[in-house]
Symmetry: C2
Subunit: 432 residues, 2 copies
């Protein structure tokens, strides 16, 4: 019956905001800590979300049809986010969940979001365990590269330079376990290599001699630890003559990329000169920083918001961190996916259809391209930094790893001898 078909099409147009031009209200629940000691505290991330909201409501990306309502909930204690989600959802379930970042908080929320079919995007939840999207975490999209993506950088380096074994040396706080989860990524991805582990308890004095002993059987030492402890360990390794190609040393510093490296051997104490020599053998893996013109404006606005909030903190001067960028881009990614889903006749309540359109997709984020893989996890680009001027003790990027095409790019500043073992530990088994 053609008249019915026409009527149906008309009704569809009237009911569908994408087709009718009427704005659709989007309820967004945001779980971030109130405590400003986190890089992803609510006060730091909220301005980025509002920035994205303004751009989107002004019509960028065909999304002027959406009105975002941001509801901020604190997630300072472990179960706060989950309980808030449960309690508020009796009346009405949100359309989108942003955060939490920390693993243990994110787990409960991600499970419930998946149970309720609500899209959830986080710039955290970076642990390997969240990768199982078949059941528990089916609605979780990770807008920052998870730790396993960072581990790809090491996998590429090991393959390129023929290293055979690694020691993972990390600080364990038994609470948030950031360094544990960070190196767990390496452990998971590089399971074909002999990998040993040495956890160092937070708050417990460092036994550097024991740590240096633990390096015996490994060619590469990968560390995740506070800057002062890294320095103590590098000094000890240097004194035991393990630097200068006897071992290859890495430190992982994902979140304060702009301030790491250059100068971090310096404490203005009597060990500075020796530390500078030791750090000549230390490489650092960081997130690859890209900048495009539009980023400048965003960055300035974030800085001014932070100052207004009184959370100006020189450790992050001039830098917008991965979490701030990530949550901004999460809004963009969601809007694009929702727009497309609605064009195909799906409602915002159909989380499966919206989430699937965020996966296997590349968008133009605030700082550069954001590419989400087929499993809903962001591909990561990472840099290796090394000391290029041993007199000045300054660091530069010497290699980049690009997650999308899994390539390692050596930069002109790269010096092969820095990545070559001087005397191979013959006891190490060959890699398979």
């Amino acid at each position: 019956m053609p008249s019915c078909t026409r009527l149906c099409a008309l009704l569809l147009t009237l009911l569908d905001p994408v087709l009718s031009g009427r704005a659709e209200d989007i309820d967004v629940v945001v779980f971030l800590p109130q405590n400003n000691s986190f890089l992803f505290s609510s006060a730091r991330v909220a301005p980025a979300l509002r920035y994205a909201q303004r751009r989107l409501e002004a019509g960028e990306g065909n999304s002027s049809v959406f009105h975002f309502h941001l509801h901020f909930h604190s997630s300072d204690s472990p179960n706060e986010a989950l309980f808030a989600l449960v309690d508020r959802s009796c009346a009405r379930k949100p359309d989108l969940i942003l955060g939490p970042v920390r693993e243990y908080e994110a787990a409960g929320v991600a499970r419930l979001a998946s149970h309720w079919n609500i899209p959830m995007i986080s710039a955290g939840a970076l642990a390997a365990g969240f990768g199982d999207k078949n059941s528990e975490f089916s609605q979780l999209t990770r807008i920052a590269p998870q730790y396993v993506k960072m581990a790809e950088t090491f996998s590429a380096l090991f393959e390129r330079f023929g290293w055979r074994s690694a020691l993972l040396l990390y600080e364990e706080d038994k609470q948030e376990r950031n360094c544990y989860f960070t190196l767990e990524g390496v452990y998971h991805l590089m399971s074909e290599y002999p990998i040993s582990q040495f956890p160092v308890l937070e708050g417990v004095p460092l036994h550097v001699d024991e740590i240096v002993d633990s390096m015996n059987d490994s060619e590469v030492v990968i560390m995740c630890m506070g800057a002062d402890r890294i320095r103590s360990i590098m000094l000890a390794a240097h004194r035991h003559q393990l630097t200068r190609g006897r071992k290859i040393f890495f430190s992982i510093e994902l979140f304060n990329a702009s301030t790491y490296g250059d100068g971090s051997w310096r404490r203005n104490d009597e060990h500075d000169s020796e530390a500078k020599q030791a750090y000549a053998s230390l490489n650092t893996v960081t997130l690859l920083r890209t900048v495009k013109p539009e980023f400048e404006n965003f960055s300035l606005e974030m800085k001014s918001s932070a100052e207004k909030e009184g959370i100006y903190d020189c450790k992050d001067c001039g830098s917008v961190n991965m979490f701030v960028e990530g949550f901004h881009d999460a809004m963009l990614l969601y809007a694009i996916a929702l727009h497309e889903a609605m064009k195909h006749g799906y409602s915002k309540k159909n989380g499966t259809e919206v989430t699937s359109r965020m996966w296997n997709r590349t968008i133009e984020g605030i700082a550069g391209q954001v590419s989400i893989d087929t499993n809903g996890d962001r591909n990561g680009d990472f840099s290796v930094m090394a000391m290029t001027d041993v007199e000045a003790g300054t660091f530069e990027m010497v290699a980049n790893y690009f997650g999308v095409n899994r390539t390692l790019e050596l930069l002109p500043s790269f010096r092969a001898e820095r990545f070559t073992l001087k005397e191979r530990h013959e006891a190490s088994p060959l890699p398979p």
Copy 2:
């Protein structure tokens, strides 16, 4: 104003079912698995709950004023119970939660129950981590002795016999982790002793020589593992001449107490005779079984219910397990506490007042006294079984440990030489 006071008292009488005699409806949500392979499956436990319900509604313990409405929810997959609780509680929150038993399921439900101030009683959630009742698990009462209580038995034995070190040898399934959590109790409670661990992965072939090697530095070997693996290990230890007082061996078998021990060396194979000799050096820690006359009726009814349900399973012939007893007694304990709380003017919705009245209390349970400590955890009584007839290869109880007064009682069948190390490993440090 005296007239108001009288009016208030009258109103209170009319509104309070305890004082008015009117029945109060109690909504009970029960989380147990549908899968009958568990000792605590819904089909096994439900008859015990209905038995308790009938007793209570018939007026036992002054609780004829309560009408219990039991709502059964399956908890087969890890998050099912939590999601069911969340989804059903929007309309109305339950008054009491029974179960879940398994640690990972119980954790989420116990957190939410505590957040919502709903009393929760489980015959499971036995891991040490649930002991923190100050925040996350404030509403959780454990009606079966948690693993740390079982560990008290070892603590008492070590103290009595002067043993100095232990090896914890356990099967790790990386899923429910029953044996991990069981021995974690020993590890927690006996932290002043040198304790080493040897996890054996489920489904991976047993390397008995490696396991026997791992026994080198320990005087006592405590095992938690399936019966076949225990036998393989005991045979290997016997062949390496570690039995007969060179080491003290224990196996923990909490849940099939009546069928463990006697005969479990027997497989009707060529190793039976050797295994019998090896098992002469194996002691088993089980739950202490008590029987009182009323128990007989209960036991018969449970058996007939199980037969009707078609879950008659000879492994449990004639025995009502700890979970079935525990959940029965949970109903009694709750009714007594609620009755008392209401007499003091508190409503059933005041979980804190109801729960606090279940703690630091001893009640007459279906099989014997049930004593809940000040932290809301049941005190445990355990038995040590040992081979008393080496010809027949039969086992008997040789010692009991009573949790309430923390005493170890040696029975007439006890032989001191069975618990004495023949040659002390002089390298072992003295206990502090």
